[in-house]
């Protein structure tokens, strides 16, 4: 990567930042202008993410180190683009573009500053994926969280304010834990640059190491709260089901952000030396507990929103368990699962609102659940203008069935391929060829059971929604509401068809990740741009 394309690395942070700044000053009444600015920024972001992904999936890996302010690595702040972050950027952009288009039907007009907050959320998420520095990770995390607080409350209503209050309190406490962890690591290792940290940790003295591991543990809790590991996850289903549909759709990526950071840090920092494999037992058993909790939750939920919320937990639990095993072949299957499940859950959150529109709010089972978790007095937005989708129930039903197949991991869609890749690697038929141990058998059984639970639950809800007598009115669904859902589901279809090349990409990514010296060398050897050493920009 050289020339102008080198600067593309920072574009996923700058584009939403600039768009958000422009959007703040545009008057709230000029909805069309706001929507256009937001949409243009989103499409730019998708293009940039795609170009970065293409560059990264090319022959040469780690050249995407960007020195901010032209300061060399341990002193300045770096952005690092590798296979994993490029993949996550593309996933974020795809989910976000779908959620944004969906929101244009009516949700974006339900309160002020929707578009600004949406862009800032993307800035925070993209920054967190790209940063190579722990403190900057904190800053981007906070940007993302602050925007997510606003987005969760978007549309207002008593239920959202209550869920939002819990969400904010939990995340403020998590941010404090984050700070404690970061400062402990700085106090013991003397650096916050991830590459520098990874190089120093294997040779650390024993007394410092203990404190450093304590710091890393505290830091890990902050991310596990975000990822929703049991018992840190009770806020998640309520918050996600209370959020408005497009917001919940984009929130599907936030829990994966927690998973991403844990994956990145464990593979980078605790690869070798006396601290190797730090925390993997916690991840393994915590993931199991999360998966069990999520499965029970799925079986128990009557409301579709909570069902989707617990699906997030199932997905997180599966991924955390796999991180706990820390085996290359299983991890690459898990990456595919991460992509597939994020797309599915995001599509499902948006689909739910369309499906529920057909149900009479007063006369269904939802009322009971709603009563248990708060008053069902959320204000429904007024119907938008636009082209209505013909054959609504048929299309909604097909999308719903696809979501069910993807969530439960049945063939032929990508949910099955991802689970198959993980399970076959666990059973030892994959690249490693080691016969599974007792925890791994438990894990295999749990993954299969969670799929069965998802299938039972989705079938039950599907029958109740689509096969009932036609008392409920056929919902009025706009084209721009159903197209984003279909777009996300089409992406999973694409993943299914292109499963071979997708798996190859995941394999390469995991293989690069499991060799941290590549990352460390790339960051350490990144050279400053010569000729701009005029006293303001640094250099040597």
């Amino acid at each position: 990567m050289n020339g102008w394309s080198h600067h593309l690395i920072i574009a996923p942070i700058l584009i939403p930042l600039v768009a958000a700044a422009i959007l703040v000053v545009i008057d709230e009444r000029q909805r069309v202008t706001k929507a256009m600015v937001s949409l243009v920024s989103m499409l730019l972001l998708l293009t940039v993410a795609f170009i970065l992904f293409r560059i990264e999936s090319g022959p040469n890996g780690y050249e995407g180190v960007y020195l901010l302010g032209n300061w060399s690595a341990p002193f300045g702040i770096v952005l690092v683009l590798d296979g994993l972050s490029a993949l996550m950027l593309l996933l974020t952009a795809s989910v976000a573009v779908a959620a944004l288009v969906y929101s244009l039907a009516r949700w974006h007009a339900m309160g002020s500053h929707f578009h600004s907050m949406f862009q800032l959320l993307l800035m925070g998420v993209n920054g967190a994926f790209l940063t190579g520095d722990l403190f900057n990770l904190f800053v981007f995390f906070e940007v993302m969280l602050a925007a997510s607080y606003g987005l969760l409350l978007h549309g207002s209503g008593q239920l959202r304010v209550k869920a939002g209050m819990h969400y904010i309190a939990v995340n403020l406490a998590a941010a404090l834990l984050f700070l404690i962890g970061v400062s402990l690591i700085y106090g013991t290792a003397g650096t916050l640059n991830m590459a520098d940290l990874a190089a120093r940790i294997p040779d650390m003295e024993a007394d410092r190491r203990m404190l450093m591991e304590a710091g890393a543990g505290v830091l890990g809790i902050a991310f596990l709260i975000k990822a929703g590991m049991w018992p840190l996850c009770f806020w998640l289903p309520t918050a996600y089901s209370a959020a408005s549909a497009p917001v919940a759709g984009v929130f599907a990526i936030l829990s994966k952000l927690g998973i991403y950071v844990i994956l990145r840090l464990t593979m980078l920092l605790f690869d070798n030396g006396p601290s190797a494999g730090f925390g993997s037992t916690v991840l393994l058993y915590g993931g199991m507990a999360t998966l069990i909790f999520g499965t029970i939750g799925i079986l128990a939920s009557q409301a579709l929103g909570r069902l989707a919320g617990f699906s997030v937990l199932v997905s997180s639990g599966t991924l955390l368990m796999v991180l706990g095993i820390n085996d290359g072949a299983v991890s690459s299957g898990a990456l595919l699962y991460l992509v597939s499940s994020t797309l599915t859950i995001s599509a499902f959150f948006m689909l739910i609102e369309l499906v529920e529109r057909s149900q009479d709010a007063g006369a269904n089972v939802l009322a009971v659940t709603m009563e248990a978790y708060g008053d069902a007095d959320e204000d429904e937005p007024e119907e938008g203008d636009g082209v209505t989708m013909p054959g609504t129930m048929a299309i909604l039903g097909t999308c719903f069935a696809m979501c069910g197949i993807l969530l439960s991991g049945l063939p032929p869609l990508s949910g099955f391929i991802a689970k198959f890749a993980m399970l076959s690697a666990m059973m030892g038929t994959g690249a490693i060829g080691v016969p599974p141990t007792a925890p791994v058998w438990t894990l295999i059984i749990l993954v299969i059971l969670s799929g069965v639970a998802a299938l039972i639950s989705m079938t039950r809800v599907g029958i109740r929604t689509f096969w009932t007598s036609l008392e409920g009115v056929v919902p009025r669904v706009l084209v721009i509401e159903i197209v984003p859902v279909m777009f996300l589901l089409a992406l999973t279809l694409f993943l299914t068809v292109q499963a071979n090349s997708a798996m190859q990409y995941m394999d390469t990514t995991i293989r690069t990740l499991s060799n941290p010296s590549l990352y460390i060398d790339a960051v350490r050897n990144a050279t400053v741009v010569p000729g701009v050493d005029d006293g303001t920009g640094g250099g040597h």
């Binding site: 904190f138 800053v139 906070e142 969280l145 209050m165 309190a169 402990l184 708060g374």
Partner: protein
């Protein structure tokens, strides 16, 4: 010096933890503020407690004449972010109070 700092951090943390477990929203927000003060002091202290030393390496001066500047920069960022998010939480708290008529964290309890 170190002992006073540690006691201050410990007392504030324990008060903060007790307060965020209380059922009234006002107690929760005060607890979060106390916790963030404790964390800020903690970040400040990981660079080593030194008095009367500038955070800039002077010419000919050794490491003893230097206070670590990084924790100072970190704590500044943490203070700003903590302040902003606490202010935001306060707004949500007031909105919840207005909607439910009670300051219980779950919106339950007797109306006042």
């Amino acid at each position: 010096m170190e002992i006073i700092l540690s006691i201050a951090i410990g007392v504030m943390t324990s008060c903060g933890v007790w307060l965020i477990l209380r059922p009234r929203t006002y107690q929760v927000i005060i607890g979060l503020s106390l916790l963030s003060y404790a964390v800020n002091l903690f970040i400040f202290s990981v660079g080593g407690v030194k008095t009367n030393v500038p955070p800039i390496l002077s010419e000919g001066g050794g490491h003893d004449l230097l206070a670590d500047p990084v924790p100072q920069a970190l704590v500044l960022t943490a203070i700003v972010i903590g302040f902003a998010t606490t202010a935001l939480f306060l707004v949500v708290l007031l909105a919840s109070r207005g909607m439910t008529g009670t300051d219980h964290v779950d919106g339950r309890g007797e109306k006042r």
